[in-house]
Structures are given as C-alpha cells and as structure tokens.
C-alpha cells in the first residue's frame, strides 16, 4: 500500500474511512438481500405447509 503516513488511514486495516464505508456498504447490501429473500421464502413455506402443521 502506498503512503503509509496518510492521516486518514485507520489501522489495523489501513483503509481510509471512505474506503471502509464502501466496503461496509457491500456487507449491508448483502444483509438486506438475505433478509428480503428469507422473508419471501418463509411466506412460500407457510403457503405450502403452515408452520409444518
């Protein structure tokens, strides 16, 4: 990595705040997709067999 003295970098990752936020956004987007998919899957599971009854 270049210029290690950059005051914006946060250790131990060495990313700047902006870069960390960009990386974090992917994690959050992924979590949102997981959540939406699981909601829909539960709905379909309920239609097929209402809580396994």
């Amino acid at each position: 990595m270049d210029n290690l003295d950059d005051p914006n970098r946060v250790w131990p990752t060495g990313l700047t705040i902006k870069e960390s936020e960009a990386l974090h956004r992917h994690v959050i987007d992924g979590a949102r997709v997981f959540f939406a998919i699981s909601l829909f899957a539960h709905l379909l599971a309920y239609i097929y067999s209402p809580w396994l009854k």
Binding site: M1, D2, I47, Y48
Partner: protein
C-alpha cells in the same frame, strides 16, 4: 518504543490487510493457483445450470407433476436475461468506487442474486406443484414465485460468468489466455458433470424435504465457491477525487466504440451462427440414438458423456495449439470444419444403421464445438479494446447464450415441423433428425464464410487493436 512493542505493532498492521478481500499490489504474473481459484465461479455456474436444465427439469415433471409446457417455460426464462450480459459487462467496465474495484462488486451482487434464487426455488416449486396446503391458494402465486426464482438464478449466472471472464482478461496477458480459457471451460464441465451425478444420487429417494435440502445446499455451496473465488482477486486502487468525479461513457457510446473495432460485427455474427449450429443437436442427441438407432436409455446417456468427452478433447487441443501462438479464429474455423465432419458422420449413421459411427460422430462434434468455443472466446478476450474487456466478454456471452438457447428451441421445432409436413418421406422416422443435422451443416458453412476474412497466418498479431 522498545523492540517488542515495535514488533507487536507491525504484527497488528500486517494482520489487518490479510483479512481483507484485496489482492496484493499487481505482480508481473498472476499465479496459476489464483486463476484456478477464480475459475471456481464456473463450477457454481455449472451447478446452477445442471440443476435448472437437467435435474429439476425431470423432478418438476415426474415427481412434482407440473405440466411439461410450464416446465419448459420456466427453464427458458433465464435465456431471456442473456442479452443483458453486454450491459452488465459495460457497467463493470465503467464502475466507479473509492476502492478502485470494477469486477468484484458485480461478482458479489451476482452471487447474492443467484443465492437468493436458489434459496427461494424449492418452496416456489413445491407451491407451484400445488402440494401441501398450497392448493388453497391462487395458482399464480406458485407460477410467479417459480418464475422469479428461475429469473434470479439466471440473472446471477449471467452476471457472475460475464464478470469472471472479464476479470480473467484483466489478470492475464495475451499469451496466457488460451490456458485460462481452457481452464474456465473445463471447470464449467467439471461443475456440470460432478453436480449432475451428486444431484442424481441425492434425489434418488425423492421427498419434498430432500428437494429443499438439495437446492438450498446448492445455494450455500454457490456462496462458498464464489466467495473463495473472488477473495483477493482485485487490488485496492486509490482513486483521486478527479477520477471519481469523471463522467463515464454511456452504454450506447461504449457499444458504438466497440462496434467500430476490427470486424466486430463479423466476429459476433460468426459466434452466433456457429454456437447455434453446434447447439441445435443438444436435445436431439438422445432421442435420435433411442428412436432411430434403437439404443437403450443407459446407452443414450453415455452419448451425452461422449459429447462432453469430445468437448474436453477439443478444449485440450485448443489450449495446446493456441499457446504455441496459433490464430484463435483460424482454430475456430478448424472447429467448424471438424463439426461438419461430425454431423456428416451422424447423418450417415442412420442409413448405415451403425451406432459406432454415430458415437464417433458425436465425439467429433463435441471436439469441433470445443475448438470453436475456445477459439471464439480467446479471440473475444484478445480483441477486447482497452478498458472494454467487460463489454467485449459481455457481448460475446450475450450472443453465445442467446444463440445456444435459440438453437435448442429451433432444433426441436424444426424436427417436429419436418415430421408433420412429411418432408423427405423416403427416410422414415429419421427424416426429422436428418433435416436438423443438415441445417446444422449449412449453418456451419455460413459460419465459415462469415469468418473467412478473419483468418490470419500463425504468429501475426501485429494488427491487433
């Protein structure tokens, strides 16, 4: 600071980046192990494809009792998404992020979409079959949910495959690409064959619970494989504020620039015609063996294996020949000639009544298809204009996937039409197949004609743009 705390501090600093998904600063040559890891995406693509087109095709009709027409519609849905590959490729070329990433975000999103589709699919299919309590609900819920899940998996597959091929192009130099293309094709085949066997084994005793386990298990394996594949593939590139704010070309502009490239249109026409020619016999292979040559089910299944085996031979030969500096298009042209030979053999097998000739023809067709596919993909990578690798591979994939899907549909239709209008009565039941195989030979000749001006003597790479 004493030496111990200095060492500890350095350990901390070193610890962080190791656990981040960034590649080390670009090295002169990407090691083969990293390319092998990247090609794991192809395994998950093969897995999803065989699940939709092969395993679930049967399960939906036989075990779940869904009508064949509805099943065919569901399976055809992902093909509708194929043309968007060009757009996906272009967006990844022009993607702007503070991390300097272009491909990984698309790989990640594509994986998510593919996972989501697979996670929904078993429930959607169970509701679609009207089993359990689902019969009390309107039919459209199952249909819409199943359509959505197939579309999601299709979209995911098209996205990850396009972006992985673009990333592979970014990571390798021209002389190593033949090997990488061979690797990508072989991994796709490995994923397809291995998962077909595993799915078949796991679903031998079918229960709804088992269906959910198998498909959702596939979803988890997809995330794992793609996660391993994308890890540390793209390096962190610091972007300046000016770079971040710079306007990016629109899809229309990028496409216009790409089509102005050296014989771009001609190359795409050749890819489309050739892929369609090789694809038309896919679904006819087994019925032809069974109906005309009287082979058993076990024997016709071996035909599909023979076709795949021929493909492997083709990819192997292509990697060898191209690594020595042969021209990719000349080799693709050779592939069409080999294919014509194979189709001629298959046609001759019916009047000769020779299953051996038929099997040999099938292997030769497989090898021809392998040479052609490998040659055109390598060419698509090598001719990709600077900064347009994603668009180039996306367009190649869009044409290739659409033509393959069209080929299968046209092949089946053509046989049925030929049978119903009673063309070539004298040939009996074989005439439907004959007409399809003859059409494929004509298409291959047309491919050859379209490509003829692209051939170039070996070693002459001076005019490449």
């Amino acid at each position: 600071m004493n030496s111990i705390s200095q060492r500890a501090m350095r350990a901390w600093v070193g610890l962080g980046p190791r656990f981040l998904p960034f590649a080390d600063a670009a090295s002169a040559e990407v090691p083969l192990s990293r390319l092998l890891r990247l090609s794991l995406v192809q395994v998950s693509v093969g897995m999803s494809l065989v699940l939709m087109v092969g395993t679930l095709n049967r399960v939906m009709i036989v075990e779940l009792g869904i009508s064949a027409g509805l099943v065919a519609t569901m399976i055809a849905l992902p093909v509708l998404f194929a043309p968007f590959r060009a757009l996906i490729g272009q967006s990844s070329d022009t993607h702007v992020s503070v991390l300097g990433w272009k491909r990984v975000p698309f790989l990640f999103n594509g994986t998510m979409v593919q996972f989501g589709g697979l996670a929904l699919m078993p429930f959607a299919l169970l509701v679609l079959s009207g089993g359990g309590a689902a019969k009390d609900y309107p039919v459209w819920i199952g249909q819409a949910a199943a359509a959505l899940s197939f579309l999601l998996v299709g979209a995911g597959v098209h996205t990850t495959q396009t972006v992985v091929l673009a990333l592979a192009t970014d990571l390798t130099s021209e002389d190593r690409r033949p090997k990488v293309v061979g690797l990508m094709y072989v991994m796709l085949l490995v994923g397809t064959i291995a998962s077909a066997l595993i799915f078949g084994h796991l679903l031998e005793e079918f229960t709804p619970g088992r269906l959910i386990q198998v498909i959702q298990g596939t979803a988890v394996v997809t995330i794992a494989l793609n996660g391993i594949a994308l890890w540390k593939q793209e390096s962190l590139k610091r972007m300046t504020a000016a770079e971040l704010a710079a306007p990016q070309p629109s899809f229309r502009d990028s496409m216009r620039r790409y089509m102005q490239g050296e014989a771009a249109r001609r190359r795409l026409v050749a890819v489309g015609l050739g892929t369609m020619a090789f694809g038309m016999q896919d679904v006819l292979l087994e019925p032809y063996g069974g109906e005309i040559l009287g082979l058993s089910v076990a024997d016709t299944t071996k035909l599909t294996a023979a076709l795949a085996g021929g493909g492997l031979i083709g990819f192997g030969m292509a990697s060898q020949v191209l690594s020595r500096g042969a021209d990719a298009f000349t080799m693709a042209g050779l592939g069409t000639l080999v294919g014509i030979l194979g189709f001629a053999g298959v046609i001759a097998a019916a009047p000769a009544g020779s299953p051996m000739l038929f099997a040999a023809g099938v292997i030769v067709i497989g090898a021809g298809g392998g040479l052609f596919g490998h040659g055109t993909l390598t060419a698509a990578m090598n001719y990709a204009p600077e900064g347009q690798a994603g668009l180039a591979l996306g367009t190649w994939g869009a044409i290739q996937a659409t033509a393959a899907g069209l080929g299968i549909a046209v092949g089946g239709l053509l046989r049925d039409v030929a049978m119903s209008i009673g063309a070539l009565e004298g040939l009996g039941a074989a005439r439907g197949y004959m007409i399809v195989y003859a059409t494929e030979i004509v298409l291959l000749l047309a491919t050859l004609a379209a490509m003829s001006s692209l051939f170039r003597p070996a070693g002459d790479q001076s005019t490449r743009g």
